[in-house]
Every structure is written in C-alpha cells, then in structure tokens.
Symmetry: C2
Subunit: 425 residues, 2 copies
C-alpha cells in the first residue's frame, strides 16, 4: 500500500493533506512538495482516524508534544486519561504514551481510543516489560520480542514510534572513547545499551532497520529516531557521542525517506543557550531536511522543580532557529512522575515557547494573535484578553481576585494606567 | 565628595569594590578599571550601608531586579515588606519600590530599612502623587516639585533612580511621526509625556539633567535611564521612537559618565526572539558601555497569566547576548498588582534566565553549579539536588508527594532509571 509520502511523490493530495494545508494556511501543492521531500511529516497511522492531525516541519507552525504514561510506582489508567485530556485541552498537538507500569496494552489502547491527536510510543518499553515478565529480565528479550511489539502497536493504531536505533556498537564505542559526565540519560537508550553490552549483539532496531521500515510502510507510521546519546547535562552538550549518533540518525533518516517512510529526528536534551543554534545547524546539515523534534532543551541543569521554565527558554530559542517540534518538560522533570497540574504547566510553558518561535520565524498567523491581544490590551477589553490567554481560567481568577476601583484599569497602576494616560492626551 | 567612579579613576579601591571583586571572583584592579570606564556599576547610596551590594555590568554575573510597591487599589505596607523579603529570599539582587498608593514616604523608608539589597525608585511617581494631592492633578507639578523628591529620596538612602529623561519634545515628535500600535506603555513615560504636552514645556529631567547629575554625585546614586518609549507589543519592537530614545539615553549616559556618575540604560519591553540580539547590539553601540537593564523582554504579547515564562525566554536570550541586569516579570503582569506568590514565581523565573545567561557567557561559577547538580543527579543524591534547587521547599514537597519503591530512583522511571541502568553495566 502507498504511504503518504508515496502519494505526495505522485503529486496527488489526500483529505489529510487538504486538512493540514487549510490549518496551516499553506498552498496544497507546496505542502505536497514538502511531504514528498521529507521536510514535513503528518503522523497518522492508516488504521486510525485522528480528529486533530498536525503537520510537523518546514513552514508549519511549531508543534508541541506532551508525555504521559504510568510508571511502576504509579499505575492509574483513569489518571492517565485525565492527563491526556488536560494536555490536549491546553494545546498539545501530539501526546506520547510512555507507560512502563501496569498493563501497557490496555493503557495504550485506552489512550488511543480517547485521543483526538496523534499518539506516539517508545515500543522498546513494552518489549522490555514483556521480557521482564516472560524471562525475569529485559536483557533476555529477543529480536522477535521487539518486532512483535512494533507490529502489535502498529496494528493497534499508534501514529509514531520513537526508535532508539542510534545506540549501536559503534556509537557506544564512541561513548567509551569520549567519556562524559552523565553517560546515557535516555531511558530507551540506556535499556538498549545495556542489552547490546550484555548480549554482545548489535541493536536489532539498527541491524534490522529494514524491518522497522517495512512495518512503518505497512501502517504508514512516522518514525521518530530517538537520541539515546542526548546530553543529560549541559556539560555533555554537543559532544562527540551526541554528534556521532546524530550523523547515524541522519543516514537512517535518508534511508527511511527513500523508502517513502515519514521520519523525524529527536534532539537534545540539556544544551546551554550559546550552543542551541549549532545543534539545529548540525541537525539540518546531517539529516536531509527531516523535521527536528527537540526535548526541551533545558538551558541549565539546576532548575529542579522549575524545569518547564529552563526548557521554555531552550525550546523558544530552538524553535526560532528552526526546530519544528518541541517535547514539553514539566515542573516534575528529574523529580517524579508528573501529575495533572504538572502536565498543564508543562504544556502551557511549551506552547509559549512554540508560539515565540513562530513569531521569530515570521508566521503571519502568530503575529495576528499578538496584534489582536495588544489591541484588546490597549482598549482595556479585559474579557477579550482573558479569552485569548493560554489559561483563561487562571487569568479570570487573577483579575477577579484583585478588582480595581478604576473599572477599566488594573490594580497595578489604577489611575496611572499608561494606556489611560495616553488616551487622555 | 568623590563618587565611586572618581575613586576608581584614581586607581584606588574601596571596601565596596573589594567586596564585589570577591563575590564575583574577579581581579580587583580589573574591577576598578571597569568601574572607571562605566562598564560596571555598584548601586549604593553613600548614606546607606547595604548588606548585600552587587556589581552590574561587564564580567559580572547577570543580576536580577524585583519590583514591589503599592498601588491606589492596594495599600498594605506589611504586605510590601513581605514581598521584599520574599524577593530577597529567592535571590533578587536588587528591589525597586514602585509604590504609587498610600504614604509613599513611609512605605519607601520602611522598605529601605528592611532591605539587605540595593533599592531603586522612580522619583516621578512620588512627585506625581504629591502634585495630585497638592494641586489636584499631577499635570500641575513644577520642576521644583520633581527635584525636591529626588533630593528627599536621595537623602533617605535610595540607591538608584529610574529617570525618564528620554521622553522629550523631540522623541515625542518622533512618536507622532512614526505611529505605533501601543503608544507609550511606561508608567513614568506616559506621565512625563502627558506633562510635556499639557504644559508645552520640555521634560525637566532632560532639560535640567545637570541638576540630576548633581544630586546623583552628592549621594553617589546610580542613574538608570528609563525607556519611556519602550515597545509594549512586539509589533512596536525596535521601531524608530524606541531607537531615537535609545540614542538620546546614550548621549546622556556619556554625560553622566564624564561627571563621574554611575549610569545604566533601561531596555525593552516586548521583543520577538529574532530581534533581541539586535536590541543588545544597538544598546552597546550607542551607550558607551553602560550596563544594560532589560525589562524582560517578553517574546510574545499573548502570555497573560504566564508572562514570567514569556519574559524568562527573552531574559535568557538577552543575558546570553550581553544584557547585564534583568527586571523580573511576574505571572500577574498585565493583570493585577502581584501578590507574594507572584513575586516568588517572578524571581525564580528570572533567576533561571540570569543563570542560563551566565552559562552562555562562560561564567565558571555558573558552570560549577551545573556540574555539582549533575553529579548529585547521577549519584541519585536527592537531598543535595533539593538543597541546590531554586526552591528547595517545592522540590522537597514534590519528592515527598511521590515516593518511589526503588529508594534511590524517582517515580518517573523506577527500576528503569537510566542512571541506575548504566550503573549496572
């Protein structure tokens, strides 16, 4: 069966392409071209119908992803569905289910059933947990165990897979030769590295990448090539292991593109402000125009409890320089499994970063919003400002908690409201 | 009497210079040189002894300011003292008292008495309020009314003054010729503009800038040249009125420096990410090396309720490119007078931005912190991580609310903690 890329390469459109072109206010032919070149992806498993699909990549508005999912300490399906709905309500364009606790299958199916946005997973998690149950350790999982999970999840409708195929004997060798402070901080990356070292075998997702592509083609799944060697501290940022893996992911991205499979590249992690531009430039250089999906990045390691802010700074800059897709970071990062409030805070911080990136990239849709808000502010149209905010309930409560004597001003300036002063000229 | 700049220009040190050199881990002679050139200021009224003074400018760590103060809607001296203490507790390097409600004199004296950090004010506020009481309108205040307040506040120990001397007949003319969406959004700027237009006279703080310098010299007060024409929406950013005022402020800064008066320049405001670098470059070009004090900047206008995050993005970038001093923005911005929780959130967001800027600028002190945190993280030293965070109480409560079965991991990953997995190799 033809994939979206195959169809785009014939110059034809689909209803999905039409929908995205309209949403992004972009010419359909141009969008078809971008998809055919691998510069835009639209994650959508052909088995699933997504109410709110999204385009990720060049000339698209910057998208954000929210991670949800159980852990062995915290298994609450209803809670996860609430997180899903919270994330979507506050504007997550996609959601990843990173569950590693409880009945993964049941949780994933429920999330897929409840989600109006594309859903991504990291199949190695389910494979590891199955192997732990079956053999007592995830280190004993076989190549087939891994690919069985890929097939099951594909069949169930997952829209995009994070595949840690950049952790290989060679890149691990690079890590040994160029030691870093934090080693591997990616969960899937660490699992894969342990597996390779224990079994003295190559990473099946790399060795049998053709099988990955086959499954991706069959269900039209978008691949997100995971950065298992992403820096987990700014001290490791942009080091040799990270770049060695990025180059490898670039080669695999090219292969996916040639096979008509949609593909994007995951990026760091922890990066100081002055290295972010370079990280984007390197990704663009090595990865054949594949969209860049950055995980933050956090611009400092010391923001514990406020990492959504450290990440918003990094995400805003990354988006301005060309990152296409931002993974949110919550205030719970490095601390605990996020709760619903954490999810909300993470999504809003990430939305602000994405929107700031859109503005910097000259999105007319984004600039129109800021103009509308500013006019409402100048005219002291408070209800309009509140309605336009990322979290109208919070803004409404804020204003209600502090009512000014001068009705159309606020309690900051009262009579000395600069807008009012200037109106009186 | 000699000012700090006068003394530095003789090559001599003072106990204040010694203290700052030690704090910043910088050679005393180099610091003396930077002060003599006007590239570093140390706000400290000679009438006041400050427990925690700070250096602002080149080669200093990036500093942050928190604004507190009453409004006509909200007059609570005890509340303001609590805000002061909260701001200092979470790391504000300076505090500005922007009170425009109640007994300004009493509030300011109390804040000065309670503050361990430098205190700044905007004297035109008190002058306006006095005039409103005396004449029924601030528009009737005289030149002498303004300078009387400067003298009183100087005598009482205020360490730095924001002076809106960039609002002049000429710059207002520029504003008329190049209309913008939001006009004037600076409170002091709007008051001054109204006064000039109503009285058809020049801005006394510009016309009699020599008098300002005289008072500043007498008390060794640092001047912060306010940007009354700062953009209040990204649509107005970097426009002609803003730059016209910046050039004028640069000329006045040079005059202050020649007179041995410490001076810094205030900057925007609302600026999209892609224009921040240019704003810093222009300030450096026009302002003779005077430290740059940016108000955020907010990178989008639509963050109502979360403007501390919009500002953290802008502040981090500005600091990385060379801004020296960041004015915090709270979640209450554009909405209401901030409460104590708002002050806390604003300070922490701004501290993260300042620290990220320090990292980008290569501060060894800053990098040492991130290294220490990362080592604690790798070793799962939870108490150390919590103690090092910006808000240990929040981090402690976060962890306590979600206790992992695997004691040294967290509830995000449990057994699959990448740090633990990699330790097991």
């Amino acid at each position: 069966m033809k994939t979206l890329v195959d169809i785009a390469r014939t110059g034809k459109s689909t209803s999905l392409i039409g929908k995205i072109a309209k949403k992004e206010n972009i010419d359909k032919k141009l969008l078809i071209k971008l998809i055919s070149e691998g510069k835009v992806v639209i994650p959508a498993n052909r088995k699933r119908s997504i109410k709110s699909p999204c385009g990720i990549g060049k000339m698209m508005r910057v998208k954000i992803n929210a991670n949800i999912g159980t852990s062995s300490d915290n298994i609450d399906l209803r809670g996860e569905i609430k997180k899903l709905k919270t994330a979507i309500f506050f504007g997550a364009d996609t959601v990843m289910d990173l569950s590693v606790g409880g009945n993964i299958r049941k949780i994933q199916n429920s999330i897929l059933a409840h989600s109006s946005v594309p859903i991504g997973t990291v199949p190695i998690y389910e494979a590891s947990i199955n192997a732990q149950k079956k053999y007592g350790s995830f280190l004993r999982m076989s190549k087939n165990d891994i690919f069985d999970v890929l097939k099951t999840q594909a069949e169930n409708g997952v829209d995009f897979f994070t595949i840690h195929c950049g952790i290989t004997k060679k890149t691990l060798n690079c890590l040994d030769n160029y030691p870093r402070l934090m080693g591997i901080v990616s969960r899937g990356g660490a699992m894969t590295a342990r597996w390779i070292r224990k079994n003295k075998k190559e990473n099946p997702l790399f060795e049998y990448f053709d099988n990955v592509l086959k499954i991706a083609r069959e269900y039209d799944i978008t691949l997100s090539l995971g950065d298992g060697l992403r820096p987990g501290t700014i001290l490791d940022a942009t080091d040799r292991p990270q770049i060695a893996e990025l180059k490898l992911l670039g080669m695999l991205a090219e292969k996916a593109q040639k096979n008509g499979v949609q593909v994007m590249i995951e990026g760091p992690g922890h990066v100081p402000i002055n290295q972010i531009k370079r990280n984007i430039t390197l990704q663009k250089k090595y990865c054949y125009g594949a969209p860049f999906y950055v995980l933050g990045p956090l611009v400092t390691d010391i923001g514990l409890g406020y990492d959504h802010i450290s990440a918003a700074i990094g995400s805003g800059i990354a988006a301005a320089y060309g990152a296409d897709y931002l993974c949110f970071v919550t205030p719970a990062e490095h601390l605990k499994l996020p709760d619903i409030e954490d999810i909300k805070q993470g999504v809003i911080a990430s939305k602000i970063a994405a929107h700031s990136g859109d503005l910097a990239r000259g999105s007319t849709q984004a600039w129109a919003k800021d103009k509308m808000m500013s006019i409402a502010r100048k005219k002291r149209k408070w209800q309009k400002q509140i309605a336009m905010s990322f979290d109208p309930e919070k803004a409404r409560m804020g204003r209600a908690s502090s009512i000014p004597k001068v009705k159309d001003a606020c309690t900051m300036c009262g009579d000395f409201c600069s807008m009012k002063l200037m109106d009186g000229k």
